[in-house]
C-alpha cells in the first residue's frame, strides 16, 4: 500500500512540476534570446521580376505582333522558344540574336513603312523610338542618343495573325526591360602594375532566374574587363578558372577550380569581396574561398578600405597665391615651404598622393615644391602651353604639352627630365585638361571647351600608353566646361557653364549615368574626394570655399573670403 502511495505521490509531483514549469501557457514568457548573426547578412540574390513572353495570337494585328516580338526579345534570354514562334522559318534561320543590345525608350511607335496594302504578301513596318543606350557584348553600357528606326517585315500567318519574316539582327529592348532584367554592376579588377589597388569596371549584367546574382557577378568577373579597361587592369583569376558552386549558410562559400596561384589570396579575395559587396551582395559576411573543395582563403569583413581608398584626405585651398591647409571647419594655416608663401604666377595646383609634393603651372612650365620648411619651387617641365599638372598615384607628375602634342610624365624620384607617353588618340586634339583618377588607371581628358573623354593608361611599365578613349560628356556648342574633377574611381564631377547658367553633374564613367548636383552660388572650380565635394564660389564678397552637404542638396560655406582653388591630393 505504501508503495502505491509513494508512486502516486511521485506522479503527482511530476505533474505539478510539469504544470508549474509550463505555467499552463502555450508560449511561455522568456528571454533574452541570442542568435549568431554571422549568417544573417545580405543574401546572395536580390529579387527581380521578368517579362513573360506569350506566343502571337491569331487576333493580333501588326502592331501587337511587333510589340509581342519586342516583349519576346526581352524574355529571350530566359526562354528563346517564344520568340521563334513570332518568326517565319526563314527568318528564324537567318536571325542572329548576338551583337550589341539596343536599348530604346519605353514609348515607341510602329508605323507602316509602305502604304498599307492588305493584298501585299509582305508588309514593312518601322519601329520608331529614341535610342537610350546600347549594351555591348562585353556587357558595357554606353548611352547613345538620337533616333534609329528598325524595320520589320510581316507576313500573314495561316490561321490568322502575322509572322515576322525579316528583322535586323540583335535584340531590341526598352529601357523598362533593361531596368527589369539588368543590373548595373561594379566589377573590380587590379591596377596593372602594382596590383595593390582595385579598379572598378561598370557593366550591365542580365539577371538569370536559375542563378544567384552573386554567381552572375562572379562568372562575369572571371572574364576580361570591358573594352574601356582592356589592357589597363589585371585580374588574379588565371584563364581557366571556373566557379563550381556558391553556397550560403553561415558564411558564403565559393568553390573555384582552375590553376589558381597560391600567392594571389589577398588580391583574389579582395576582387571577390568588393565585386560582391559593392553590389549589395553578401555585405558583412565571411567569404570562404575554396579551390576544388579545399579551403583556399577565408575573407572576413573588415573596415579596412585600402583596396579603394588609400589617398590622404587632407584638403587644401589657395589664398592670394599661397597654399593653405583646410581643416574640417575652416582654415588650418599655410603649408610649410615656398608653396605656403604668397606669390603670384602659380596656378593649377596639384598635390601628390601622400601630400608631400605640390605641383603648379607657371607661365614657363610646371614647378614642384616639397611641402616642408625647406621646400622650394623647382621647375621640372618646361613648356608654355601645358595643361595643369596632375599626379599619378605612383608618384609621377603628368601634363600634356599642347604645343608639341605630347603627353609628358615626370618622375620626381629619379629626377630625370620628363618622358613622353604615347597617346596616339590625343594627337590633333586640343587637350585643355588632363586629370588622372586616383586608381591610377583612368584618365579624364578635356578637349576643346566642351568635351570630356575618359581613357585608360594601358600597358606595363615599359610601354605605358594612354588609350581606350570614349566620350564621357559633351555640352552644346557655346557652353563651356570649367572644371573636371574625379570624385571617386567611377564618378567625375563636371562643372559646365552655359547661357542658361551653371550645371554641376556627377557622371559615372562606366555607364554615363548622370546625376545633377544643385547649385547655390556660381562656382569657379570643384574638387572632390570620397564623399566630400569642395568648390570655389564667386559671390559679391569675393571667392569662398563651400562644401556640399552629405544630403547632396545644400552647400555650406567653409572659408568666407580670399579662398579659391580647393584641392585634394590626386584626382
Amino acid at each position: 500500500m505504501t508503495r502505491t502511495r509513494r508512486l502516486a505521490a511521485a506522479l503527482a509531483i511530476v505533474a505539478a512540476v510539469a504544470l508549474a514549469g509550463s505555467g499552463c501557457t502555450v508560449i511561455p514568457v522568456t528571454g533574452p534570446l541570442t542568435v549568431q548573426e554571422t549568417g544573417s547578412g545580405d543574401p546572395l540574390s536580390k529579387p527581380f521580376q521578368r517579362m513573360i513572353a506569350i506566343p502571337p495570337r491569331p487576333t493580333w494585328g501588326p502592331d501587337e505582333t511587333i510589340r509581342g516580338l519586342q516583349a519576346a526579345m526581352a524574355a529571350y534570354a530566359d526562354d528563346p522558344s517564344i520568340l521563334a514562334k513570332y518568326l517565319t522559318p526563314e527568318a528564324r534561320a537567318a536571325w542572329n540574336p548576338s551583337g550589341p543590345v539596343a536599348v530604346i525608350e519605353d514609348e515607341y511607335e510602329i508605323v507602316p513603312s509602305t502604304p498599307r496594302d492588305d493584298a501585299a504578301q509582305a508588309q514593312t513596318f518601322t519601329l520608331k523610338g529614341r535610342w537610350v543606350a546600347k549594351i555591348e557584348e562585353d556587357d558595357s553600357y554606353t548611352p547613345t542618343a538620337g533616333v534609329s528606326p528598325r524595320t520589320f517585315q510581316l507576313v500573314k500567318a495561316e490561321g490568322g495573325g502575322y509572322r515576322v519574316s525579316g528583322l535586323e539582327d540583335g535584340l531590341l529592348l526598352t529601357n523598362a526591360d533593361v531596368t527589369r532584367a539588368y543590373r548595373a554592376t561594379n566589377l573590380y579588377y587590379l591596377t596593372g602594375k602594382t596590383q595593390d589597388r582595385l579598379v572598378v569596371d561598370r557593366v550591365r549584367l542580365r539577371l538569370k532566374p536559375t542563378q544567384t546574382y552573386a554567381q552572375t557577378i562572379l562568372e562575369r568577373l572571371l572574364k576580361s574587363p570591358s573594352h574601356a579597361l582592356k589592357g589597363a587592369v589585371t585580374t588574379s583569376f588565371p584563364p581557366g578558372t571556373k566557379i563550381e558552386s556558391i553556397r550560403s549558410d553561415e558564411r558564403v562559400v565559393i568553390n573555384l577550380s582552375g590553376p589558381l596561384s597560391l600567392s594571389a589570396e589577398d588580391t583574389l579575395s579582395a576582387q571577390i569581396r568588393y565585386s560582391l559587396n559593392k553590389n549589395e551582395i553578401a555585405k558583412g559576411r565571411v567569404i570562404e574561398i575554396q579551390v576544388d573543395g579545399e579551403p583556399y582563403t577565408v575573407d572576413r569583413p573588415s573596415a579596412d578600405d585600402h583596396w579603394l581608398d588609400d589617398t590622404s584626405d587632407t584638403a587644401y585651398y589657395v589664398s592670394k597665391g599661397a597654399v593653405h591647409y583646410m581643416g574640417q571647419d575652416g582654415p588650418a594655416g599655410a603649408v610649410p615651404g615656398a608653396a605656403g608663401e604668397q606669390r603670384t604666377g602659380y596656378s593649377g595646383f596639384a598635390v601628390s598622393r601622400d601630400g608631400a609634393l605640390i605641383a603648379a603651372r607657371t607661365s614657363t612650365g610646371i614647378s614642384v615644391a616639397g611641402l616642408t620648411q625647406e621646400g622650394r619651387w623647382q621647375e621640372v617641365i618646361q613648356g608654355t602651353r601645358l595643361t595643369p599638372p596632375t599626379w599619378h598615384r605612383d608618384g609621377s607628375l603628368w601634363t600634356y604639352d599642347s604645343q608639341n602634342g605630347v603627353l609628358l610624365r615626370y618622375d620626381p624620384i629619379t629626377g630625370r627630365g620628363p618622358d613622353r607617353v604615347a597617346a596616339p588618340k590625343l594627337s590633333g586634339l586640343d587637350v585643355t585638361k588632363l586629370r588622372i583618377a586616383r586608381d591610377g588607371v583612368r584618365v579624364a581628358v578635356m578637349t576643346g571647351e566642351n568635351t570630356v573623354h575618359i581613357g585608360a593608361l594601358t600597358g606595363g611599365s615599359a610601354g605605358t600608353m594612354l588609350g581606350a578613349f570614349q566620350v564621357l560628356t559633351t555640352t552644346e556648342v557655346g557652353n563651356k566646361i570649367t572644371s573636371v574633377a574625379w570624385e571617386d574611381d567611377e564618378h567625375v564631377l563636371v562643372l559646365a557653364e552655359g547661357k542658361a547658367g551653371q550645371t554641376l553633374n556627377e557622371i559615372n564613367v562606366g555607364d554615363g549615368e548622370v546625376v545633377g548636383v544643385p547649385l547655390k552660388d556660381p562656382l569657379e572650380s570643384v574638387t572632390a574626394l570620397g564623399g566630400r565635394v569642395l568648390a570655389e564660389a564667386m559671390t559679391d564678397q569675393g571667392a569662398k570655399i563651400e562644401e556640399l552637404d552629405q544630403d547632396r542638396q545644400t552647400w555650406t560655406v567653409k572659408i568666407e573670403s580670399d579662398a579659391g582653388s580647393p584641392l585634394f591630393p590626386l584626382g
Binding site: M1, P47, Q49, I52, I54, R57, W60, T65, E107, N175
Partner: protein, 535 residues
C-alpha cells in the same frame, strides 16, 4: 500482463499519435493556406488598383496596352515581388499572365507559365473576379533538381477600363511547413515510442510487485506441505497481499498446533499401553504361578475342574505372549528398540526358524519346501529379530496354508538378501497386502485363531524389518495363496535398491505373462515399497 499492456498501449499511442499528427497537420496547413490566400488576395487588389487607369493623378490614356514610362505593371510587380529599390525578398513568387496583350505578363523568381497546374488554370479562368483557387502541388522549378511542394493560389484580375483579364498566380513554398510537420511527426513517433516503453516498464514493475509475493506464498506453502511447519511469510504493508500472508501464517500456526496436539495424544496413548502392559505383568506372574499349581494338580481334580485348569493354563500362555508383544511394540513406539548386529548366514537363521515351526507344521500336516542357495548368504543382522520375523511368517503361512506346502526361498545378491515365504492358502484380497501389517488386523474376523496369534506379529515383524533398513512386503491373490518377502541389506545402514527375489511368485508371474502376452495389465498386487521390487 506486460504483453497485453504493451499491445494496448501501442494501439492507444498509435491512434492518439495519428489523431494528434492529423490535427497539427491540418491546423498548420490550414493556417498557412489561409495566410497565403490573404496575401495573394492583397496582392491582387494592389495589382487591380495599379492597373486601373487613374483619372485624377495620371493623365495616361485609357489605352494602357501601350507601355508608357513607368509601366504600372512593372511598378506593381516591383512592390509585390519586392524587386524594387529597397525591396526585400518575399517568401513567394508571383506570375501575372495576360494572354491577350503583348508585354503584359510578368514573373518573379524562376517561375514560368508552365509551372501553373493546368487544373488550376482552368479553374481560374472559370471563376469570377475576386475569388481565389488554390492547389498544393509538387513543382520542379527551372534550375532545380528536386520538385518542391508548393501552394499555388490563382485568381483573376479584371480591369474594367481596358477590358483586360490578368491571371495572377502566387507560388508559396510549402517546404518549411513540410519540414515542420515532419519534425512534429518524428517527435510524436519518438514520444509515442517512449510512452510505450514507459508503460511497459510500469506494467513490469507493477506485475513484479504483485507476482513476487504470490510466488513467495507458493514457495512457503510448498515448504509447509513438505512438513516444515515453522515456515511463515513476511508481512509487508497493509494491502491484500499482506492480508493473504497473514491468513497463511495463521493457517500454518493452527496446523502446527493441531499436529502437535495429535502427536501428544498419540504419545499419551502409547505411554498408556506401555504402562498398562508393565502393570499387568506383576499380577499376571502371580496368577501364572497359581495357575501352574492348579495345572500341575489337575489329575486330582474332577474332570470339570481339570479341564478348566488346562484351559486357564492355555489362555494364560496366550495372555503372556500378547503382553510380551504389546511391550515389544510399545518399545518400538517409544523408539527404544535397538539392533544387536552380527554377521550371520541367513540360511542358518531360516533353518532355525523352520526347526521352530516344525511342530506346528506337523499339526497342520504341512510340509516345507526349502529353496536355499548353495553359497552362504552373509548379512549383518540382529539374529533374534530376524528369526522372529521368519517365525512369524512361517506360522502365518502354516496357519493360512490349509495344509498345503509352504515354500521358503532364500535369495541374495551383492547388496541384499531376501527370504520369501509362500503359502497356497486362500490368499489375500486386493488392498489387503498393506493391511496385513496393521496391528490386530484380521482377514476374517469370524475366523478363530487356531494358533493363538496375538494380531501383533506382522506389525512387529514389519517394525523389525524397518529397523534393519529392510522391507517386509506381502503379495496375495484370492485362491492363489500369498507370499511374504523379507529383504535386508547385507551391510547394516545401507540403502536398499532392490530385492534379489521377486515379490510375485515366479510361477504366477510366468502364467500371467503367458496369458496376457497380448494385453498386459497392471500387476494386481503392488505393496508399499513398490518400484523397488524389480529383479
Amino acid at each position: 500482463m506486460i504483453t497485453s499492456t504493451l499491445v494496448i498501449s501501442v494501439i492507444v499511442v498509435v491512434v492518439l499519435g495519428m489523431f494528434l499528427s492529423e490535427q497539427i497537420d491540418r491546423s498548420v496547413v490550414e493556417s498557412s493556406q489561409s495566410s497565403s490566400f490573404s496575401e495573394a488576395f492583397a496582392d491582387r487588389l494592389q495589382i487591380a488598383d495599379a492597373l486601373a487607369p487613374e483619372t485624377d493623378d495620371q493623365s495616361k490614356p485609357a489605352d494602357s496596352g501601350k507601355k508608357g514610362s513607368g509601366n504600372p505593371l512593372d511598378e506593381v510587380m516591383d512592390i509585390v515581388t519586392g524587386s524594387g529599390e529597397n525591396g526585400s525578398k518575399k517568401r513567394y513568387d508571383v506570375l501575372i499572365l495576360n494572354q491577350s496583350v503583348p508585354g503584359q505578363s510578368r514573373a518573379s523568381g524562376s517561375v514560368v507559365p508552365q509551372d501553373v497546374p493546368p487544373n488550376l488554370q482552368r479553374n481560374v479562368q472559370k471563376t469570377a473576379d475576386g475569388r481565389s483557387v488554390g492547389f498544393v502541388v509538387k513543382i520542379r522549378f527551372i534550375g532545380e533538381s528536386q520538385p518542391r511542394l508548393t501552394f499555388v493560389v490563382g485568381g483573376m484580375v479584371h480591369v474594367p477600363a481596358t477590358g483586360q483579364d490578368y491571371e495572377v498566380y502566387h507560388f508559396f513554398p510549402f517546404t518549411e511547413e513540410e519540414e515542420l510537420l515532419s519534425t512534429v511527426r518524428l517527435a510524436i513517433v519518438v514520444v509515442g515510442l517512449g510512452l510505450v516503453l514507459l508503460l511497459a516498464a510500469i506494467a513490469y514493475l507493477v506485475a513484479r510487485q504483485v507476482v513476487t509475493p504470490v510466488r513467495l506464498a507458493r514457495q512457503a506453502a510448498e515448504r509447509l506441505a513438505a512438513g516444515k511447519l515453522d515456515e511463515r511469510l513476511k508481512v509487508r504493508g497493509e494491502d491484500d497481499l499482506a492480508r493473504l500472508a497473514n491468513s497463511f501464517n495463521e493457517m500454518a500456526a493452527n496446523l502446527a498446533l493441531k499436529i502437535h496436539q495429535l502427536e501428544e495424544l498419540s504419545q499419551v496413548q502409547r505411554q498408556f499401553v506401555s504402562d498398562v502392559s508393565h502393570e499387568l505383568r506383576t499380577p499376571l506372574t502371580t496368577v501364572r504361578m497359581a495357575a501352574d499349581l492348579l495345572y500341575d494338580a489337575r489329575e486330582d481334580f474332577d474332570p470339570m475342574a481339570s479341564r478348566s485348569a488346562e484351559l486357564m493354563q492355555a489362555q494364560l500362555e496366550r495372555f503372556e505372549s500378547m503382553l510380551a508383544d504389546l511391550l515389544e511394540i510399545s518399545r518400538y513406539d517409544a523408539g527404544a528398540a535397538t539392533l544387536d548386529l552380527d554377521s550371520v548366514d541367513v540360511r542358518d537363521v531360516v533353518l532355525r526358524a523352520i526347526g521352530d515351526s516344525e511342530a506346528l507344521a506337523e499339526r497342520h500336516s504341512t510340509r516345507f519346501e526349502l529353496r536355499l542357495p548353495n553359497e552362504p548368504c552373509m548379512a549383518e543382522i540382529d539374529n533374534r529379530r530376524v528369526e522372529r520375523i521368519l517365525r512369524n511368517l512361517l506360522f502365518n503361512a502354516i496357519e493360512h496354508g490349509e495344509g498345503r506346502d509352504v515354500v521358503v526361498t532364500v535369495g541374495a545378491d551383492r547388496d541384499a538378501v531376501a527370504v520369501a515365504v509362500r503359502d497356497h492358502g486362500i490368499g489375500l484380497k486386493a488392498g489387503e497386502e498393506t493391511m496385513v501389517f496393521d496391528r490386530f488386523w484380521r482377514a476374517d474376523p469370524s475366523r478363530a485363531r487356531t494358533i493363538g496369534g496375538t494380531g501383533l506379529g506382522l506389525a512387529i515383524s514389519r517394525e523389525d524389518a524397518t529397523l534393519h533398513g529392510g522391507w517386509l512386503q506381502a503379495w496375495g491373490q484370492p485362491g492363489e495363496g500369498s507370499q511374504f518377502r523379507l529383504t535386508l541389506p547385507r551391510a547394516a545402514g545401507s540403502d536398499l535398491k532392490g530385492s534379489p527375489l521377486s515379490l510375485v511368485p515366479p510361477e504366477i508371474e510366468m502364467r500371467r505373462t503367458w496369458r496376457t502376452a497380448m494385453t498386459p495389465v497392471l500387476l494386481p498386487a503392488s505393496a508399499d515399497g513398490t518400484g523397488h521390487d524389480e529383479d
